[in-house]
């Protein structure tokens, strides 16, 4: 039987960690969440020689001080789960900063291997690295790799396997006489007074206590007699502060960087070269003071054009395929005498037309997710955050908040989860509240349907304008909230500007497929269930014409429809579609498909007889702005840990959407549109 080993991948953001993860595990990946956390957890397996390796991709972090949820997750995994080996991926072009994390990992007593990535880039930058010397300095193996070309990965795995199970020699950094003295004093005290679980290194715990690491203090607190140690550590910390005239944290950072600096002098030869490179020139343009924002919006416009132009032929193929499937299935069921007519109706009208009308949009959604992934991987996303910072400041947020908003174009659920990257609670909640106005991919089918039916001449441009309008309402709402509920300063903006990189096609595809698959899965489960519910409601009470006004659903729609009268779509069908849209926005189009009992002429043609161009525009605005889907509301509930904010979002977005739709419709009428 194959022996099992767990390998954790650690590293700074933007060092090629995902590239290595993809190179190792390929498609054998599983994406989930860290238990109880909203941070994404990626795992994958591979067979190598006689071993079955379980690779865990830790969140990218610069440090392990547990100040952000990502750092905490990464650290807890290394400390508590004791992976057999921790592979730390290091950017060879930025060794000095990267090794800060390496030092912390080694301090923790983890079984570390350094994987020196981007060796090719380092060579180009005239950086010569002696990996043997680094290995000697750090006391851990160092392997040169090129994750994007998959070179060196076999050697990395061989090293990992040979290292697993071995106990590493402890501690290499000295923090200076004074600090060391206090560390060993507390270390001794720990060994004497408490029974520390074996997975914790006493010296590391001593250091963390001196650094006043609250997470560690809380962990230690549960152990008997620990209060003596915590108290002693606090006393020592105070003493050290007086001696050095600076925080212990600064002294520790100083010592770590001092150690790394020594290593760099020994092991790395760097020719002084002009840093002004192509990347710098590109920055001059895309981050230009005046041109930056127009360029950003131009890129977004291109993104949407590509999404639709490239997606259309594939969408047609799926559409035709489902049409044929429905036809032949209908004919087959009709030919079986035993099956009653309602089965035919359920399968063809309900299931196939419902699912089909959702799956048609998979090509568009796939492309949109791919564009967002490319923006992220190329390094442009961080630039966009920089460019938008000034604008976002007017809303009382900083540019970093714009990243969740862009992710919101894909899906609001991960977007709201991405607000975790923001440090302050206030920023997080404010970003969550305005994020639903960022039009997610699930709303896209509605635009495609309506814009295609009424304004097909400028499809890409109009859909782009719809998205812009969403951003506009989001920013306006942000400003309003900031003036009323969220007064006060914004949290600090500290963000690395990653170098531009050519996105790795494989990584982009894996990422995009994952996201799209989630969408398809949703289409296959939630949407499937809802479509059946709709079909049932549309077929009852027994004997009514399918999806007619007399059916249960027709009566429900008819009851709330008058509310939408001033918006220009006071019929019962749009009311029903909007109602179900709260369950999942993907369903809106499917509901129309079912309710209008679409035949061969296609939904686009049927829509024409129920909407005018003006009421279509008003309906688009409604769908853009009204309540986010249940999943988003539930995510906001989970992230804020209260019902107050999700309820607020539901009420506020409904109000805003209704007012805007009425303004569009009534204003349009006044201006003479129909």
């Amino acid at each position: 039987m194959a022996k099992k080993l767990t390998i954790a991948l650690a590293g700074n953001p933007n060092v090629g960690k995902s590239t290595l993860f993809n190179a190792l595990t390929g498609s054998r990946q599983h994406v989930g969440n860290w238990p109880g956390k909203t941070v994404e957890k990626k795992e994958g397996t591979l067979k190598y020689n006689d071993y079955e390796l379980n690779v865990v991709d830790l969140p990218g972090t610069y440090s392990l001080t547990a100040y952000s949820i990502e750092e905490l997750v990464a650290r807890d995994f290394v400390v508590d789960e004791c992976p057999d080996v921790v592979v730390h991926i290091v950017d060879a072009t930025n060794l000095e900063r990267n090794l800060y994390l390496a030092v912390q990992l080694i301090e923790m007593g983890a079984n570390v291997i350094i994987a020196l990535n981007m060796i090719d880039l380092a060579k180009k930058a005239h950086i010569t690295i002696d990996e043997k010397k680094i290995a000697r300095f750090l006391g851990v193996p160092v392997v040169k790799i090129e994750a994007n070309k998959k070179t060196g990965t076999d050697k990395l795995l061989d090293t990992a396997i040979s290292l697993a199970g071995k106990k590493r020699k402890k501690s290499l950094i000295t923090y200076g006489v004074e600090l060391e003295e206090h560390i060993s004093k507390i270390e001794e005290l720990i060994k004497k007074t408490i029974k520390l679980p074996e997975k914790y290194d006493p010296k590391w715990i001593a250091l963390k206590l001196l650094e006043k690491d609250n997470e560690i203090i809380n962990k230690i607190k549960t152990i008997k007699n620990s209060e003596i140690i915590i108290e002693e550590a606090a006393k020592n910390r105070k003493h050290l502060q007086e001696v050095f005239g600076e925080d212990v944290d600064t002294s520790v950072a100083d010592a770590r960087y001092g150690f790394i600096g020594g290593l760099m002098r020994e092991a790395v030869v760097k020719k002084e070269v002009n840093r002004l490179s192509a990347s710098e020139n590109l920055d001059r343009v895309v981050m230009h003071r005046a041109l930056g924002i127009p360029i950003f919006f131009a890129l977004m416009w291109v993104m949407f054009q590509v999404t639709f132009a490239l997606g259309a032929p594939f969408a047609d193929i799926i559409d035709i395929g489902f049409g044929l499937l429905a036809e032949s299935t209908g004919a087959f069921i009709g030919s079986v005498d035993l099956l009653p007519a309602w089965v035919n109706s359920l399968v063809v009208d309900g299931i196939l037309s419902g699912i089909g009308s959702v799956l048609v949009f998979v090509p568009n959604i796939f492309l949109l997710f791919m564009m967002i992934a490319i923006m992220e991987a190329s390094g442009y996303m961080a630039r966009a955050a920089f460019i938008m910072d000034k604008v976002m400041h007017k809303v009382g947020l900083h540019g970093k908040s714009f990243i969740p908003m862009i992710i919101g174009f894909g899906c609001n659920v991960p977007a709201i989860m991405a607000t975790r990257n923001l440090e302050s609670e206030k920023d997080r909640i404010l970003t969550m509240l305005i994020n639903p106005f960022m039009s997610c991919a699930a709303r896209l089918p509605v635009y495609v349907l309506f814009v295609g039916a009424f304004f097909s001449a400028h499809q890409g441009t109009i859909i782009f304008l719809i998205y812009l309008f969403g951003i506009f309402v989001a920013l306006l709402s942000g400003m309003l909230f900031k003036k009323t509920m969220f007064r006060g300063l914004s949290s600090p903006l500290v963000m690395e500007l990653p170098p531009y990189r050519k996105p790795a096609l494989k990584g982009i595809l894996i990422h995009t497929c994952e996201r799209s698959w989630l969408f398809v899965k949703k289409a296959g489960t939630i949407i499937f269930a809802i479509v059946i519910v709709i079909w049932m409601l549309a077929s009852m009470p027994w004997g009514v014409e399918y999806a007619s006004e007399e059916s249960v659903i027709g009566q429900m729609g008819g009851f709330i429809a008058p509310v939408f009268g001033p918006c220009g779509f006071g019929e019962w069908q749009p009311a029903v579609a909007l109602m179900f849209g709260f369950a999942a926005k993907e369903v809106v189009v499917g509901t129309f498909g079912t309710l209008y009992d679409v035949g061969d002429e296609g939904l686009g043609a049927v829509i024409h007889s129920h909407f005018t161009p003006l009421s279509a525009a008003s309906f688009i605005v409604m769908v853009l702005l009204y309540v986010p889907c249940m999943a988003v509301v539930a995510t906001i509930r989970r992230e804020t840990n209260s019902w107050k904010w999700p309820l607020f979002v539901v009420v506020y977005t409904s109000g805003v959407a209704w007012v805007c739709a009425v303004v569009v419709y009534q204003g349009g009428l006044l201006l003479g549109f129909i």
Partner: protein, 71 residues
């Protein structure tokens, strides 16, 4: 003087970082701490600024740039 007032292209030495422990730790993870030399890559004197630290570039908000004393 504050980092926020340093001109573009200048290399400055960090004297002091005021503000909470949290900001300090975040900065030190990016190798920005007292005694380190950084380069001002971009400063528009409004909005965020960019500093060069070794081989990497870091965006700092205006508020943060006023919490870093340099010379």
């Amino acid at each position: 003087m504050f980092l926020a007032m340093a001109e573009c292209g200048k290399k400055v030495l960090i004297k002091e970082i005021t503000g909470g422990v949290e900001l300090k730790k975040r900065l030190s993870a990016l190798r920005i701490y007292e005694g380190v030399e950084i380069e001002v890559v971009r400063n528009d004197f409004s909005g965020p600024m960019i500093v060069g630290v070794l081989n990497s570039k870091v965006v700092l908000g205006r508020g943060e740039a006023y919490k870093i004393r340099v010379e």
